[in-house]
Symmetry: C2
Subunit: 333 residues, 2 copies
């Protein structure tokens, strides 16, 4: 590790993980945090789930959403991935001097709309202002509380033969934001997939223990999320390239920008590992829910190459998909 | 209101309040948020309390603490002021490219130490990195959850004759930070009062309904916090200047910098309005607790000048203490 923070530390890949492992976990260790889920399941009267996320995205407005919608969906989805039904959000804003108030109004309206769809309330907040040049317009933190409705989700419960499901087209958010950022002047129908997964997870909860683990593949994309499931375990995930739903526009945008959709952030998708006996049932539960109509089984859990994610390519080859290493997509959420 | 964000919007005074009233409340209105407490009391299985705060302080290290200690105490105290016993914290970090990792380690250690003293666990977190020049080293957001132990705290319960108590010396945090920021090279023993009020509030909870309302006078100081108690009500708070505990070093530092300790931030103090019949009992409860040994009754609730805070000066005069209006102390927490 270098001795200063670099943009790589924010990519969601290996350097981000090193910060957590080498600095944060040793300092704060406790059972809830050590589980390293998207959210923490807490002891207490009501089986609480808590999660937090900060949003530093550039640009703040992008096709399919803005930083406000993202700030709601990101945290709501993290609570969902930990098995919680999201209920309350806190909202912390860091405003840069000079931010137009109309922009703040517009972001507040997006937050309200997304919160309404996700069925959560913004119950407490805080606003700070920093001098011009000490921020980048607007940073948002949200923390979310939910009540546990889908207990026991954990990668520890994965077994050989389990099915790997993705809830729809992969990589849309990352590709849309990077294309917007590149300012290439290209007309594209590419949109972020930013959406709350509250209803989809309520639907999946009916499958109970058959669902082993859930993750929303944000920074680092599907490839990084799946690596987190199997690393340091005797298990392997084998993906079938042909089975992975990728929009033609997303693939084209990624080709243009030199990106891989499997490493591009998603903000309205989940990956699920499910008991193979219940895979069709889980797939149907996801497809019935909003934003789930293009869900697909994309792979299986095996013991072929412990700790690794393999991609069985269209050309009948096998490619190892490692965790994101550099800052392929900094400030993507 | 101007049409862009100015530093005044972050002062904790009138301009900050205008953001809340004109932008955030209309967008997110719900009962918990509308109460505008330091934290929100939530419905749910276990009578939850939730609060959040972002910390953008400059400098990040100051006599008596650092941004890490502050990030724990600030949110812990907000949960306490809403009547909660704090239990869990989330931690969101926004790191600027180039931040030394040793500094991050040091801040993480401060967070761990303060969390330990406050008896809270850091259960979930998130880290983002922004490019050099798009931040100021390190911004921290914490959100806190607690369980309600002191129900019903509300300024609505204030009555004529109630006593106003402050839990110790006023203005130390703001004065210490501003003096550190001024880099005057002055040797001073002045320290921030940054501390968790968990134990003090547990002690006060025994006074039950006699405690009408609590507030930690952070940005905007004691004068602004008390104004928030009486504004738009038929009540007035009358303070006795001689009764307000102010350290000689703090007064001297404020005199040097042109500040008023009554408007300087505190990070380990509370103001309480208490039934006059129980004022001595509440004072004793505060004094028994850590950080409470210099608590004092500093005023009373009256109907003399509805909606206002009056200071009865040493010279037998009366001065109106309005809410902080400008950015007297930006980025103080």
């Amino acid at each position: 590790m270098n001795d200063v923070i670099t943009m790589d530390h924010g990519s969601g890949g290996k350097k981000s993980a090193s910060l957590v492992q080498e600095i944060f976990l040793p300092a704060f260790a406790n059972d809830a945090l050590n589980a390293l889920g998207d959210g923490a399941v807490l002891e207490g009267g009501a089986n609480l789930v808590m999660s937090t996320d900060s949003f530093v995205i550039a640009p703040r407005f992008f096709p399919g959403g803005d930083i406000g919608k993202l700030a709601v969906c990101g945290t709501v989805n993290d609570v969902c991935m930990a098995g919680g039904a999201p209920k309350y959000l806190s909202l912390g804003m860091i405003l840069e001097e000079g931010l137009p108030l109309d922009e703040l109004r517009s972001v507040a309206a997006s937050i309200a709309k997304a919160a309404n769809e996700a069925n959560v309330q913004i119950v407490t907040g805080d606003t700070k202002v920093v001098e011009r040049g000490k921020g980048d317009g607007l940073y948002i933190n949200t923390a979310g509380i939910g009540f546990l409705r889908h207990p026991g989700l954990s990668r520890e419960r994965m077994r050989e033969g389990d099915a790997v499901i993705v809830s729809g087209f992969v990589g849309d958010h990352g590709a849309a934001v990077m294309l917007a950022r590149a300012e290439l002047g290209i007309k594209s129908s590419l949109c972020s997939d930013c959406a709350p997964l509250t209803a989809m997870c309520a639907s999946l909860a009916a499958c109970g223990e058959a669902v082993r683990v859930l993750r929303d593949p944000t920074r680092g994309g599907v490839a990084t999320a799946l690596n987190e499931f199997v690393e340091d375990t005797p298990l392997c995930i084998e993906l079938t390239e042909d089975a992975i739903p990728i929009r033609a526009e997303t693939q084209a945008g990624c080709d243009l920008l030199g990106l891989d959709p499997l490493y591009c952030a998603n903000e309205g998708k989940l990956v699920a590992v499910v008991d193979k006996e219940k895979a069709e049932e889980a797939l149907a539960a996801i497809r019935r829910a909003p934003y789930g109509e293009n869900a697909a089984v994309i792979g299986t859990v095996s013991a072929r190459s412990p700790g690794h994610v393999l991609l069985l390519t269209r050309a009948q080859g096998t490619r190892m998909l490692s965790k994101l290493t550099g800052a392929e997509l900094p400030r993507i959420c």
